[in-house]
């Protein structure tokens, strides 16, 4: 039954992708990418990946579009160059497609329960999470405890992106925003969005915190929560102007948040070593190992949330504070 939904959504996905490639206007292409991410999130939800759908919607559709748009405002709106070596690339690329198509026929069908992927490691997670960690959401359990080291690496990927963007965009000649007159164009016209924005921002932050601490019971967790809270602040910055947003959350505080979150996650691991367990072994955090695991998961999810929020916001402010030269 779900196959019909999947087929419909996937066809829509392919059409959006082709539209992204063909449009000359980059602004339209970025908007289509946001639609593409939303369709992808809907598709993930149909395939029972609730956490991933939430992440794809929050990060894919939300933050990526904002970053692309702020970069577009600094560069060009239209694509001018023609496609180079068009047919050669189509030839090379369709060979890869044929190789992949050839590989599909031995793959298990969609949803086939006795596919090898469901045999070896997955059932162990499904059986042992209630016993060892006792939280309903198995994905959060695997993400933060069984494969916690992966997520530590992941937090440092976000941190690397944050310092990377700050390092690249702090180079010399960008005009800093401070000396630019704060009065954004047509302030009077923004009245209604400002009022609605002021009404909504607290609820978005509240929802972000709900997703953060609800991560063990339902779809949610640090990545999604960080992205949602970052989106709330970005909305605030868009409506109130960048100076007010920076007054609320100064750049140093954002970098501090990114550093603090990453260190919090790492320090939990080091504390586990100090208490005699292996790195990131939360069961030593408390006399009862199961409660220790839960404490560990809550703390590192908080670390992830803080890092992602701080990193995404400092990236956003790095782009917007760099006025375009044209």
């Amino acid at each position: 039954m779900i196959i019909f939904f999947a087929v419909f959504l996937l066809t829509l996905l392919v059409i959006t992708a082709i539209a992204i490639v063909r449009t000359e206007n980059l602004f339209v292409a970025v908007m289509l990418t946001s639609i593409f991410s939303l369709l992808m999130a809907a598709n993930f939800f149909i395939l029972d990946a609730a956490d991933v759908a939430l992440t794809e919607a929050a990060i894919g559709a939300g933050v990526t579009t904002v970053i692309f748009l702020s970069a577009l405002s600094l560069t060009a709106e239209r694509e001018r160059s023609q496609t180079t070596a068009k047919w050669l690339t189509i030839g090379v690329v369709s060979v890869t497609a044929l190789v992949l198509m050839y590989a599909t026929f031995d793959k298990p069908l969609l949803g086939d329960p006795n596919a090898p992927v469901h045999q070896h490691v997955a059932p162990w997670y499904l059986e042992n999470t209630p016993i060892l960690i006792d939280i309903p959401n198995v994905v959060t359990a695997v993400l933060s405890s069984f494969r916690g080291y992966d997520t530590l690496g992941e937090v440092f990927v976000v941190f690397a992106a944050c310092i990377g963007v700050l390092f690249l965009l702090s180079a010399g000649n960008g005009i800093k925003a401070e000396d630019e007159t704060p009065k954004s164009q047509g302030l009077r016209h923004h009245l209604i969005p400002k009022v609605v924005g002021r009404l909504l921002v607290p609820f978005i932050v509240l929802f972000g915190l709900y997703v953060q601490f609800h991560g063990e019971y339902g779809p949610g967790g640090g990545f999604q929560a960080g992205a949602i809270i970052a989106t709330a602040f970005i909305l605030h910055a868009l409506l109130e102007g960048e100076r007010a947003a920076l007054a609320a959350m100064p750049r140093a505080a954002l970098l501090g948040m990114a550093v603090a979150g990453a260190m919090l996650y790492g320090m939990v691991g080091v504390v586990c070593i100090a208490l005699g367990g292996n790195f990131l072994d939360y069961s030593v955090l408390h006399s009862n190992p199961v409660i220790g695991q839960q404490i560990g998961i809550i703390v590192i999810e908080a670390g992830v949330g803080i890092t992602v929020c701080g990193a995404l916001l400092s990236i956003f402010h790095a782009f917007t504070s760099r006025r375009g030269l044209n």
């Binding site: 991410s37 395939l47 160059s81 086939d112 997955a122 965009l169």
Partner: protein, 119 residues
Amino acid sequence: MELLGYYNYWVFAILLVIGLYTVIAKGNLIKKLLGLSIFQSAVFLMYITMNKVEGGTAPIILKGATDQIFSNPLPQVLILTAIVVGVSTTAVGLAIVVRIKETYGSIEEHQIFEADQTP
């Protein structure tokens, strides 16, 4: 009807090809980054197609339900990480594009190439 089970993998292959084509053929740097994000989204689709079990639900084990079939949690964990990797790479890529625009005055690959030829 059974062939539809492979439809997800075909869409994965098609999206991969569209992304790769955009990255290679298009000259505009931002269009290349858009192609890169499509290319990565295709891989996410492949992983998540693996985790679906017929009649299964999201792997959230509530106290009451005992005989529930669950989908596989592991690909979801991997893709949660991969999505954030994709966003980080795009953010750094865009920062580089902004710097290229400021130093070269253009984000079209052939114009940058010409600017470099005349040192």
